[in-house]
């Protein structure tokens, strides 16, 4: 089981702030993004390959190649705009 968090525009457009998911064969962030994309609608639009998506695993910036393991906290968010 992993915990997935969504922030800012992603949270609003998906209508969800967090969810729990069984890894079920998903080994990397790239696999997870593909699975989320497969849900269609806003998911497919936001997580399409040409979209700019930032991601973190256990609160450290990550990329599509980052390997997932049970208990991870994964987050997806739009490019950051602080400062």
């Amino acid at each position: 089981m992993i915990q997935i968090l969504f922030f800012a525009r992603f949270r609003e457009e998906l209508g969800v702030a967090s969810e729990q998911l069984e890894l079920d064969g998903l080994s990397s962030i790239g696999d997870l993004l593909e699975a989320l994309c497969g849900r269609g609608d806003a998911w497919a639009r936001l997580f399409a390959e040409d979209q700019r998506v930032m991601m973190a695993v256990n609160q450290e910036l990550a990329d599509r190649n980052t390997i997932l393991k049970a208990g991870d906290e994964v987050a997806f968010f739009p490019p950051v705009t602080g400062g």
Partner: protein, 153 residues
């Protein structure tokens, strides 16, 4: 000494600089960057701003950035304070203050920290205009600014 704070309360840059300096007589220079809320963006009047962040990761990301600045330059103290929540035009959004023996290191470290913060720390701005609310888009120029600090491996 390095410290980072995320706060919903207004931030007072002068007070923060006083805290940073303390009574340390080895400091010869303090460089500060203060990011302020503008009342205009993309040609539209902006009435207010809401800053969202990722609690936990934000603090870690900022700490990592100031640690990296310490590795790269000889600096004495470093302080980053970032607002979250609702802000009005003219209010400070972020303060980066760096104290060092000599000015060069403080200038470089300060610019490095704000450039990295803008592309690596999980904050998002939502602004209110006459037409309603909208998320602020990231700027390509911020990515370019970050890239210039990347070392050749």
């Amino acid at each position: 000494m390095n410290s980072v704070s995320i706060q919903a309360d207004p931030l007072d840059p002068n007070h923060e600089v006083d805290l940073l300096r303390g009574n340390d007589p080895s400091i010869g220079a303090v460089v500060t960057f203060i990011g302020l809320m503008r009342d205009i963006n993309e040609g539209d009047r902006v009435e207010g701003l809401y800053l969202e962040h990722y609690p936990g990761m934000t603090e870690r990301a900022l700490q990592k950035i100031v640690d990296e600045a310490n590795n790269r330059w000889e600096i004495q103290h470093c302080r980053v304070v970032h607002r979250v929540g609702a802000l009005s035009p003219t209010e400070p959004i972020v303060l980066v203050a760096v104290a060092s023996r000599h000015r060069k290191e403080a200038f470089l470290a300060c610019e490095f920290i704000i450039d990295y913060l803008k592309t690596k720390a999980p904050f998002w701005k939502k602004e209110t205009t006459a037409e309603g609310e909208r998320w602020v888009d990231a700027r390509e120029s911020d990515d370019t600014a970050t890239l210039q600090w990347q070392k050749d491996d």
